[in-house]
Symmetry: C2
Subunit: 478 residues, 2 copies
């Protein structure tokens, strides 16, 4: 009993302390365990299984667009990292250096990859000769290391898992097309699978990737009103190609530089799922990404026929859904709490009375809605409810975001919004980095992106009053 | 034309120089590219796709036995690595050390994982309390680093991809059972999917894993008569548990140490596929592991209807097989060479005359056998030929191994076999490491394993003449 009490009590409510609620969910749902290595986390089975599903579904979408997977070394020699000036300036301060190997000091330091542009460029410079070799549309799934000072599970860790796509194209147009294509792919994936609506847009120069000509981003709004950059897609133009000498002979026999892109999505998306969908009972997983979609929980399982029935239902459902039976010797109440904490979309309760009546009870994780369903209709009903849940989770997230997006015309309105209305702020901008800096300094809000869907809020910059060049989404961000 | 000539000429015959043949295949089939990082290779799409298939099929088999995937940090603090004495002695000399991070010297060096026993033990010591928490049957897919002096693609590289399973059990019996279960799983996978027959057995103490109580291995024979250790499974007993304090309270309320295992398989298996099945035209991939199983090659593709027919056949086959059309502007001969070099199991040739006759030609990669097949029978015939090919590749590999296995009763016979009969040698052993050392020193052959299927070759040790304790497979090894 003591243990049961502890389990139920241990989670802080999100209204009381959102950061603590987040940490509690991450630990209690057994998504991660802290490790003895500072800033690194252990992805436990419940957490890693979510990543496996993200990986599988994202990878399928990649391959439909012609992406091929490769694997690059995890080390980058210092001289290679330094080849592109902006890039090294952006990353050198936060890398880990290997200086000894096999008992000897190395003649050249190797950094553990923070990202692999330089390795791909070096690779491409050797395998691209002719226009026939283009395009190259490669991707890798791996971990990268960035020496962060403060860390938070999934959102900011020293090592994290991701995919990084790196492409080389014959023309600038084709590179830009691929950059946008991948951004759209990310946004579709997040909306359709993770049930998280995204704002698509372009980063300002201040916020773009080190070495990129332009960076595109998808931005999501968390439950506490903070923004989360969820995926980025960069167009490098021919900047890296010139630094690394990646040239091809075109059909006209002229030597030309390739045009490159890169794009990535990380385990940070698990943090997004938690902070968009979670509630005070724990995690709520969208059905399409949930490792277990249905947990069958027997009631009074010691009674004759109950466990057998639970197993029979599992056998009936397992070809269409990811389904398990919780046949442990815990109490049903304890099992309900665990299923809720882990965010399993549906539970099916089945006990002696249900069996007698030829029915089971389906309970939705998000709304707690109960549906009594005759056994023979269970197969279809489960699918129906999962679909409805997936759709409604996206709608709820979209409504929440829209309800937490305000417009600001004057700087007073802007500051009031940052202070009192957690969420996105739509406001005009003159295009000058000085205004971005001033806003960040005075309000802690940053420019999230210049959305593709521009709106006209006013004629002048919200900060300086000069003529506006673009509408920008602003917000406090993770 | 110059380019076509170069492609065909570039491969050394395996009879002339097996090592060079291997390197040629690896490069020409575009499995890898060398990187600027010493001893690290780039897995190109053709190479990585094989690993993806290995990973997918092995992972499914793992999960059927209850394995759950996790992800552990890539760094191990020096103090953690040192906790188990034998283990650190085995690995410390070949690790890479990170000494700087985020611009500062680290208070404690971090090694890049060469294997993750220590991290799993540390993790288990924190999450295992009660018998209810057991067993833990975790696995991770990742890369590891070992500072090798000389390297060879797939077989020995500084960084390589693998999976490492780490389990914790309540009893010694259960740990031993899991150790053997995973060894059998590896052997079945290699035989059924990779078409490589395995000798299953136990390593001698001299050859066992650093820190293990016993190490089991599967050993394969390559085309040149050298052995390849292909997968290992270790039983640690409670050695690591004692070093790391991994205890659980049992049903009888007593605190007990867990019993642990680990087991791994690596990208080295791609090397095994090459060296077991390859020929002088390049790679030969077993159908079950081939990323592309069928390449449709149009003949005279500029003629009306040819490309359309090729595409029609692809559409017909694509739901059952992994199939592509080579519609590039190269000559058919060139395309044949490429398909053969890449080891694609079947090619389907289809030209104007075939279309007129309502048929296509299927050519098997391994035997070059041609089968003329009416279009309407193609669907079934492709599957039939792929199955036959898979089966015959395993048979051929088994016959080759058996034909290259000799028995030695006397030391003279043993030395003669090592010198003149490339392959496995079956000979009796007294159990003394001194004999293993002597044999290795004088012949370069090492003990591969004490096979589960013991045979009685003679009564006495092949080296010292004392009473024999076990029959051992010996051989030169990669």
């Amino acid at each position: 009993m003591a243990k049961e009490k502890k389990f139920v009590e241990a989670i802080t409510s999100m209204e009381e302390d959102f950061a603590q609620w987040y940490t509690d969910v991450v630990k209690k749902a057994e998504l991660i365990e802290y490790s003895t290595v500072r800033g690194c986390m252990i992805l436990r089975p419940n957490g890693y299984a979510i990543w496996e599903n993200i990986q599988k579904q994202l990878d399928e979408r990649f391959k439909e667009t012609g992406v091929e997977n490769v694997y690059m070394p995890m080390f980058i020699p210092e001289s290679l990292l330094q080849k592109e000036k902006d890039h090294v300036e952006g990353f050198a301060p936060e890398v880990a250096w290997v200086t000894y190997g096999g008992g000897e000091e190395l003649p050249e330091r190797l950094c553990v990859r923070p990202t692999s542009e330089t390795l791909f460029c070096d690779f491409y410079s050797r395998i691209i000769q002719s226009y026939r070799d283009l395009p190259k549309v490669y991707n890798q799934w791996c971990s990268v290391v960035r020496w962060e000072k403060t860390t938070r599970p999934f959102l900011r860790t020293m090592e994290f898992l991701w995919q990084e796509g790196h492409t080389a194209h014959a023309t600038a147009e084709e590179a830009e097309e691929r950059t946008i294509q991948m951004l759209n792919l990310y946004a579709d994936f997040c909306e359709q699978v993770l049930a998280i609506p995204m704002i698509k847009g372009k980063k300002t120069d201040k916020e773009k990737f080190a070495g990129a000509e332009s960076t595109y981003t998808i931005e999501a709004l968390m439950h506490d009103g903070k923004a989360l950059q969820s995926g980025t897609s960069h167009n490098f133009g021919d900047g890296f190609a010139r630094a690394f000498g990646i040239q091809y002979s075109d059909k006209d026999n002229q030597l030309k530089y390739v045009h490159q892109t890169s794009w990535g999505m990380t385990t940070r998306m698990i943090g997004a799922i938690i902070m968009v969908h979670g509630d005070n009972s724990g995690l709520v997983l969208p059905p399409r990404i949930a490792p277990t979609q249905v947990m069958i929980i027997p009631i009074a399982q010691h009674k004759e026929g109950v466990l057998e029935k639970a197993e029979e239902l599992r056998a009936m459902l397992k070809n269409d859904y990811r389904v398990k039976v919780d046949a442990t010797d815990k109490s049903p109440g304890w099992k309900f709490s665990e299923q809720e904490m882990r965010g399993i979309p549906l539970r099916i309760e089945v006990g002696p009375k249900d069996i007698e009546a030829g029915q089971a009870v389906i309970v939705r994780r998000d709304t707690r809605e109960k549906t009594v369903v005759p056994f023979e209709e269970l197969q279809g009903k489960v699918g129906e409810i999962l679909e409805t849940m997936q759709k409604e989770m996206l709608e709820r997230a979209r409504n929440h975001r829209d309800a937490h997006t305000t417009e600001a015309v004057t700087y007073e309105e802007f500051k009031d919004a940052v202070a009192n209305k957690p969420g996105f702020i739509k406001a005009m901008w003159c295009g000058d980095e000085a205004c971005e800096n001033k806003i960040k300094e005075e309000t802690t809000a940053t420019s999230r992106c210049m959305p593709f869907e521009q709106e006209h809020i006013s004629d002048t910059c919200v900060c300086c009053g000069r003529p506006a060049k673009a509408m920008v989404y602003w917000g406090k961000a993770y």
